[in-house]
Symmetry: C2
Subunit: 418 residues, 2 copies
């Protein structure tokens, strides 16, 4: 079978499975998740063996250490995968929920009912645990899934998929509800992105190149995450001790994550006090600061920030710094240079807090908390298939609800239109 | 200024206006709507004069009667436009609403806040009242709007836009919050569809050609409405008198609307009784029926339906008809041939009604009511910018809420991540 036909057939099977998944009862879906979790634990050795083949090929191919680490399965990671599926089983099932039921003047009752999106395509790189995580969320939200992992993790992914298939079938659900694309040929991605007939949404997870390719080629909606250029603004009415703690945590708790602070904005009136504390702390943590002219007078050792710096997601121990007049200048900076991901104000002033929350146009807007909290688990969503920086449909961490939609339901007793 | 620059500047101004609109208070937005309504009424003669120029050019250009009728402004239509704006002023403002506020184990409080999408581009044909309707909904939902009407209605649209600008300014809002593109050059549409930097969503309203062009060229999300191939399924457990009334109304109340029934499905067991009544009624209404083989035995006068018929949105006094075994066969037919717009079951059986509501994957699913109710006004949304047949973001009639999104709001008191 050629690749075009293979992907078409995969999509068609997914669509058929999606109809069954859409009407599956909650306990059946939960049984599939629980059974898959048990099978994954039982099959630990087989998963490690499959992963060893991938690790071997990747090492030979010269994959770098960071990527090798992401690729590796360990007994702990396998436990975590199973545990993740059990957590998803415990989440409330959004499907079938009716809201806003209201009788209209004509006598019809109108409500909105939450329904699955249908077929979710997920294109990801390296980490094989995404196979189980993403499949679990899609399964619980009544969708069928087509997973396309990185070629370096193909054996691991197929071994995990085999566990999921058994779990689905044991619960009486179709194995086709979760399909892993079995070829590593890159043409498969292109074919998948054109398959709008059968695929309702694509979620790319990986580096910027992947996301840009998917966004430009996909003929269906994409839930995507571009840059995370996150800001902390320390207001002159902030609790400065708290502000220092939050800014330091937002930058240093982890460097490579999308919700890490990349730019610190400080109100002029408190800049001296704040930077006298934060400067040495960042220096000790080996964080390179690139600052505006004013800030360089307070922290003479630091580099000058360029325009480009303010537009950069470093994902590294580097940050930019700007002293601003007030909340307005801070919000203007965020609007111009930010990526609408996560931005925080530290202030004790309720009115400014409210203004920031309402006016800053980002998927997560925070008052007095580290930007590192922008995360599905921390928000109580249980897990996330990704964080969306788009405004359309799902915004911010995308959990079960982001994989659903609402349709209108009308219940009448014979009403006709006059 | 060339057209590319003109559209770019229009987009940039809209983005700036959008920031102001996003934080505008409800009473200010309502004042702008009320003032615009008054100005439209005061300016009746000027609007009629501008419309006369368009009507004259269109008549000379040989526009057909139906389109001329859509283009024409009358005193009654001007009253309706003003009234529509006042109705929108009365709708609840969705912006700023916080939902799902919940404290997480870390101590942070997480909620979702409803916010505008930003800049909404609307591309429409002929009917000048869309200028006021769409602008009103966008204004109330805190968005800025760029409107591109048909070239045949340019003078009418600009005259209406002038009223809106005065209304906005009188209320202290920026005139740029509603901009009508002043050139009729078709290049302007292409430029607008590429302007993803400033335009957050495009809503095309018009014929299939327009919608297909917009869908394929737009670099931003599109809220669109494709076919309305709506079904009524008469179950064997239906109240047959009610079923006949609903099917007749769904087809004949208006022929040219997207929520008109295009295909009737009847359960075998009741087909004879139902068609003996409905056949003559449709005949008398001059509705041409194209039926399956079985139905042609019961209604010998009718034409045979082809595969193509079942996939056709007639928008005319023509309909297809198929006798099916049961609800399963009906739902299969709807899945294969339908357009996921609006589908109805007539049945007295609660369980079948629930199955149909849950399993039929359409933006509106109905029990015992005419498909003609699928409409923003009938659903209590007040008005609609369109009906979406997509599953992503807004589904079904798109009112104020469909022009908004939800962001996450996090309120802490100094929490950092461990």
């Amino acid at each position: 079978m050629d690749i075009k036909t293979y992907i078409y057939e995969t999509g068609k099977r997914a669509r058929n499975a999606a109809r069954i998944m859409a009407r599956a009862e909650t306990d059946i879906k939960n049984a599939a998740l629980e059974k898959t979790a048990s099978i994954i634990l039982d099959r630990q050795q087989a998963l490690l063996d499959a992963n060893q083949i991938d690790m071997h090929t990747a090492t030979e191919g010269g994959l770098n250490m960071a990527l090798l680490d992401r690729l590796e399965l360990t007994p702990e990671r396998i436990d975590a995968m199973a545990d993740g599926l059990r957590q998803v089983a415990k989440l409330e099932d959004p499907i079938g929920n009716m809201t806003k039921l209201k009788q209209q003047p004509s006598g019809i009752k109108v409500a909105q009912m939450r329904v699955p999106l249908g077929v979710v395509g997920i294109i990801y790189e390296s980490r094989p645990n995404v196979t189980a995580d993403a499949a679990g969320l899609c399964l619980k939200s009544g969708n069928a899934t087509i997973l396309r992992g990185g070629s370096e993790s193909i054996n691991s992914n197929l071994a995990i998929a085999a566990c999921i298939h058994e779990g689905l079938v044991a619960a009486g659900l179709p194995a086709d509800a979760v399909q892993v694309i079995e070829t590593t040929d890159r043409q498969a991605v292109g074919e998948l992105l054109r398959l709008s007939e059968f695929v309702d949404v694509i979620v790319p997870r990986g580096g910027k190149n992947l996301i840009e390719r998917v966004s430009s080629e996909a003929r269906m909606p994409v839930i995507k995450h571009l840059d995370g250029i996150c800001h902390v603004y320390i207001d002159d009415l902030a609790n400065l001790e708290m502000a220092v703690k939050i800014a330091y945590n937002a930058k240093t708790q982890r460097y490579g994550t999308c919700n890490t602070m990349e730019c610190l904005l400080v109100a002029e009136a408190v800049a001296k006090t704040v930077l006298e504390k934060l400067g040495p702390m960042f220096e000790q943590a080996h964080v390179e600061i690139r600052g505006c002219e004013k800030s360089r007078k307070l922290l003479p050792g630091i580099k000058a920030a360029t325009e480009e710096d303010y537009r950069t997601e470093y994902l590294a121990p580097i940050m930019s710094l700007r002293i601003v007049k007030n909340i307005d200048e801070a919000m203007d900076h965020i609007e111009v240079y930010g990526s609408h991901h996560t931005d925080c104000i530290v202030t004790e002033d309720q009115q400014r807090a409210r203004r920031f929350l309402r006016e800053v146009d980002s998927s997560s807007v925070m008052v007095n908390a580290s930007t590192r909290f922008a995360d599905g688990y921390e928000y109580g969503l249980g897990a996330e298939v990704g964080i969306s920086t788009d405004k359309f449909h799902a915004r911010g961490p995308v959990g079960l609800e982001g994989l659903t939609s609402q349709k209108y339901v009308v219940i009448g007793d014979g009403q006709i239109r006059q």
